[in-house]
């Protein structure tokens, strides 16, 4: 479903180009759970942002769901990201002024889904994530794990084809982290959600079925895991 070919991202500083991503190629199939690892500055987040259509590569070809993304205009790309992508962030990035319920509802609003349908969808996911009781609380009233749960619920509410997670457990303790990873695994296996996550933790990376190691903007190694 995703194909990146000879992708580069660089910044022009004086006469020199500083490469963040350097001639990188990557294919991800539907239903995969990919973990991206690598030291700080290796280009993990930039890669994830480009895949998530939040950033643009400087060069290269980018295909997603059969579309040549590198040929699309800003508006079309943003329409595409709205339809296909769900994002989970290390710092959760919930909107502080909105309640749990409203945070989860927001993506649906931007997709012009009717009020009654929104209600049903949000109720359903609150139920699934066991956070019905928290729906009227504001983010600041939740623990980190609970906030991330809301973040994931929000990412999934619009039924994205691809879930992108940038260090989803980075701000959580190990028990909360494990719970989130179990949830990812379940989503991937049972609901067939394609997931790409960036992580520092070897343990969390192994929840996926492929681990890609980045170094200096290039894929250093790629390893397929066989979970039974």
């Amino acid at each position: 479903m995703l194909s990146l070919q000879h992708l580069s991202k660089y910044y022009q500083a004086g006469g020199n180009k500083t490469f963040v991503l350097n001639d990188l190629s990557l294919d991800v199939d539907e239903g995969e759970f990919v973990s991206i690892m690598g030291p700080s500055g290796s280009g993990k987040s930039t890669l994830l942002n480009i895949i998530g259509l939040l950033d643009e590569p400087s060069e290269g070809y980018h295909y997603f769901a059969g579309e040549a993304v590198h040929l699309l205009k800003e508006k079309q790309r943003s329409a595409m990201s709205r339809g296909y992508m769900g994002y989970v962030f290390q710092a959760y990035h919930l909107i502080d002024e909105l309640t749990v319920y409203e945070n989860i509802e927001t993506p649906l609003i931007y997709q012009n889904i009717k009020g009654s349908e929104r209600k049903a969808l949000v109720a359903d996911i609150l139920d699934r994530f066991n956070i019905v009781g928290k729906k009227d609380l504001f983010p600041s009233q939740l623990s980190g794990g609970q906030q991330q749960l809301v973040g994931i619920a929000r990412a999934l509410i619009a039924k994205p084809k691809l879930l992108l997670a940038d260090e989803p457990t980075g701000n959580l303790n190990s028990k909360q982290g494990d719970e989130i990873m179990e949830l990812f695994l379940k989503l991937n296996r049972e609901d067939g959600v394609t997931i790409i996550q960036v992580t520092h933790s070897e343990k969390n990376a192994e929840y996926g079925n492929r681990i890609i190691n980045l170094l200096d903007g290039k894929i250093e190694s790629s390893r397929v895991l066989n979970h039974q």
Binding site: E97, T106, P107, Y110
Partner: protein
């Protein structure tokens, strides 16, 4: 979606209560001020428009050119009326003679004694044709009754005042100035307040012919009184230029003799309320277009200031909101949706301010009459004011909302969610600085305006008028033969009181807004002198009562007729006499039919009118027939009691008249009512502007303080003193303040110099005013941001650096 936006907007407002309060307070005050200004401007510009012939009604006015002297009067001579009817046959012509104060007596009837009323305005001798020009609703009778002599039409509320109800007024009698018996032949509805023709007692014009001496009614072409005015209705399509051309021919034909260069021309009704050349004509007041322009200009400035506050605070705050914007973009919001959301928030703040402004304006409305002529009963809400409010709100939303919304919605989401947006990176710093400069400049402009206006009014109020105006009581009386007979007796009785220093019967106080003018002859010459002389009549005690000083000769001996004259320095200077003593013994003759009389004294120049006007050439002469005022100089101290005693005696002497006394200095202060109002307006709106800009400044400094907490922390760790950090904050503002001063100073100078030109006697526009303005604004700005700057500088650096 809309509800979601509203919710977010509301929670944002609540979360940043301080900024919201500043924004709302600034906008509320600004919008309320604008709304009130609108009501004043709209009221003044609505004058006379209620008449359906508004576009085709004209006032015939007179211009006299004598040498370099151009003078204007709203009056026209009496014989011009039939002549105009002949020369402009297609026009409908209505003559009127306005009384600036009459006594109306309701004769004793069943159960009541004589009822006496003083009418300072609204009494007029008028032709029935007036009602062909102006719309009027007749409750009883019709315009035809005004073709008969000794008929009067009164309006409804006057009827109620005189008789208790209007239904039974018709057919009753009243007496005007204890002289003319009038029969009430009609009742009309009250004239609306925004009319320059607020007539309430309308006496048939033909009545006037029987009392020529009492109302300066003269069939001479050379005698023109500003009371006698003519309105005219032209058929639609007639151009004002062609009529003026015909009036030029008309003037040449008729004003052939002693008065030179006299022309009649048309003043459209639409100009009448704004034309300051003619002073007050028939109505309560006139307003110059310049005043209305100044007022509107101030209104626009105030709204701009409030919008600037909003822009500055919102853009500054936008850094704090970048995360939300980033998340929304990631969640799929388009830029357009974000712009709408942010504009929605602006709209919410603006509409909230709009409602609060309505409340503020409503509370302030009754006080509006202190700075304008808007009546107390004026309502706040009208189709016009609602439309104005709505369009103001819309323009404020657009003015103040668009820029911050575009800035915010333009954030790159990846940067925004990582909090990589800083105040510097959102740009627009030069713009924000520019806006602060504009704000400072506006408040300094208004401060300059205030200082100049207050200084000038102070100068005017304490100016040396050249005579002693304090503690001189003037009682208007009448010149019927009975009243004139009682003069001597009244004077003797008053002088017996120890507190009364002097009594004089006069036609006019030394300074007044009356102009009684005439052509005159000098030194037995056959031709008249080529400038107009102004006349004041008084008995021999005139000079003593008002403390006039002689530079040559002295006062005249008591006389009932003009046999000696006193002139002022200006007159002899204009006649080319250098030494005042040389003027003594020379003879003067007032008008074509007057008698020659010698000059016996020359008085030092005194201010003959308001300080707006030059000192005029003056003749003071006896002439019992026109001495309608009693002027009484009282010893200061126990004024009230003395006045009460004087009144008692006056009422005993003239039982048929109502007492109506006033002090000369109070009347002189009345000359400057409009200027004093303008000074008050400046003061008020300078206050509003300072308030708004202080709010903005405070908000901006608070924001800067938050932004620079880390920098301040580091500087302190490196050993910076509190003083140097406060200086760091103040430096930029001081520079901006100086730039704004450079902008405000020339504009302020130009504006106020123009205003001062309307006074012949005025203050010098020196550096002092401008120095005071900048010191004041530095002081106010310092007060505003000083506290915040100092508290920020005092924060422990460990605290501010830990949060990073």
């Amino acid at each position: 979606m809309f509800r979601n936006y509203l919710k977010i907007a509301w929670r944002n407002l609540m979360r940043h209560k301080g900024y919201s309060a500043i924004n709302i307070a600034g906008l509320t005050v600004g919008i309320a001020a604008c709304l009130l200004i609108y009501i004043v401007v709209q009221y003044e510009t609505s004058f006379n428009k209620q008449n359906k012939n508004y576009r085709n009604i004209y006032h015939i006015v007179t211009q006299s050119v004598q040498g370099n002297d151009v003078s204007y009067t709203p009056g026209i001579t009496v014989p011009a009326v039939p002549a105009l009817r002949t020369d402009l046959p297609e026009a409908t012509i209505a003559a009127m003679d306005v009384s600036y104060g009459s006594q109306i007596t309701i004769p004793a009837g069943s159960g009541h004694a004589d009822k006496k009323f003083i009418e300072h305005s609204g009494v007029v001798f008028i032709e029935p044709q007036y009602f062909d020009l102006f719309d009027s609703e007749w409750i009883a009778g019709n315009k035809a009754v005004l073709a008969e002599p000794n008929m009067v039409v009164i309006d409804k509320s006057t009827a109620i005042k005189y008789f208790g109800d209007w239904q039974h007024a018709e057919g009753k009698f009243l007496k005007m100035d204890n002289l003319i018996d009038l029969k009430i032949a009609g009742v009309i509805e009250d004239v609306v307040s925004n009319s320059d023709f607020p007539f309430k007692v309308l006496v048939s014009y033909v009545t006037l012919k029987n009392y020529p001496n009492n109302y300066n009614y003269s069939d001479e072409w050379g005698s023109n009184s500003s009371n006698h005015q003519v309105m005219l209705l032209m058929p639609p399509g007639e151009s004002i230029e062609s009529v003026n051309a015909r009036l030029k021919v008309f003037s040449k034909k008729h004003y052939t003799f002693d008065i030179r260069g006299t022309f009649n021309f048309l003043q459209p009704l639409s100009d009448l309320h704004f034309d300051t050349r003619f002073g007050n004509t028939t109505g309560d007041h006139i307003t110059s277009k310049a005043t209305l322009f100044t007022l509107s200009f101030i209104g626009v400035l105030i709204i701009i200031m409030a919008s600037i506050n909003f822009i500055n605070l919102t853009t500054a705050q936008s850094v704090g909101r970048s995360k939300e914007v980033g998340i929304r973009k990631v969640l799929g919001s388009s830029r357009k949706q974000l712009v709408f959301q942010l504009l929605g928030e602006t709209t919410m703040i603006v509409v909230t301010s709009g409602f609060l402004a309505l409340i503020v304006a409503k509370l302030a409305l009754p006080y509006l009459e202190n700075i304008s002529s808007v009546p107390k009963t004026m309502g706040l809400l009208s189709a016009g004011s609602v439309l104005f409010l709505i369009s103001t709100l819309i323009s404020v939303v657009v003015l103040s909302g668009i820029y911050p919304a575009l800035i915010l919605s333009g954030f790159k989401p990846v940067l925004a969610i990582k909090n990589k947006i800083t105040a510097a990176s959102i740009g627009g710093v030069p713009l924000r600085r520019g806006l602060v400069v504009a704000q400072f400049a506006i408040s300094q402009l208004l401060i300059i305006g205030t200082l100049v206006a207050l200084n000038q009014m102070n100068f005017v109020n304490s100016a040396d008028l050249g005579f002693n105006s304090s503690a001189v009581l003037v009682i208007p009386g009448y010149t019927d033969s009975l009243s004139l007979q009682k003069m001597g007796q009244f004077k003797q009785q008053q002088l017996q009181k120890p507190q009364v220093k002097s009594v004089s019967f006069i036609s006019d106080a030394p300074s007044s807004d009356n102009n009684w003018a005439s052509n005159f002859y000098f030194d037995q010459a056959p031709d008249d002198v080529d400038f107009t002389v102004f006349l004041k009549a008084g008995d021999a005690d005139y000079f003593k009562t008002f403390g006039l000083q002689f530079v040559a000769g002295g006062g005249y001996a008591p006389s009932d007729t003009i046999n000696q004259m006193v002139v002022n320095e200006t007159l002899i200077k204009k006649l080319g006499i250098k030494n005042p003593k040389a003027a003594l013994g020379k003879t003067l003759r007032i008008g074509g039919r007057g008698v020659w009389a010698p000059i016996v004294g020359v008085v030092k120049d005194f201010k003959t009118n308001s300080l707006r006007e030059e000192v005029k050439p003056i003749i003071i002469a006896p002439g019992k027939r026109v001495l309608s005022l009693a002027a009484i100089k009282i010893q200061t101290g126990s004024l009230t009691q003395t006045v009460a005693e004087i009144q008692k005696l006056w009422e005993k002497t003239y039982p048929e008249y109502a007492y109506n006394g006033y002090f000369v200095d109070e009347r002189i202060a009345q000359f400057y009512k409009q200027e004093n109002q303008l000074a008050l307006i400046y003061k008020l709106f300078a206050g509003v502007a300072i308030f708004i800009s202080c709010l903005g400044l405070y908000g901006l400094v608070s924001f800067m303080a938050v932004q620079r907490t880390k920098e301040v922390g580091i500087r302190k760790v490196l050993g910076a003193s509190v003083g140097s950090i406060v200086y760091l904050f103040s430096k930029e503002f001081l520079i901006l303040l100086s730039i704004s001063f450079l902008i405000a100073m020339p504009i302020g100078w130009y504006m106020m110099n123009g205003w001062l030109q309307s006074f012949v006697y005025r203050i010098d526009l020196g550096a002092g005013v401008f120095l005071a303005a900048i010191l004041l604004s530095v002081f106010i700005a310092g007060l505003t941001f000083g506290y915040k700057a100092i508290t920020t500088a005092l924060v422990n650096p460990i605290k501010s650096l830990r949060s990073e």
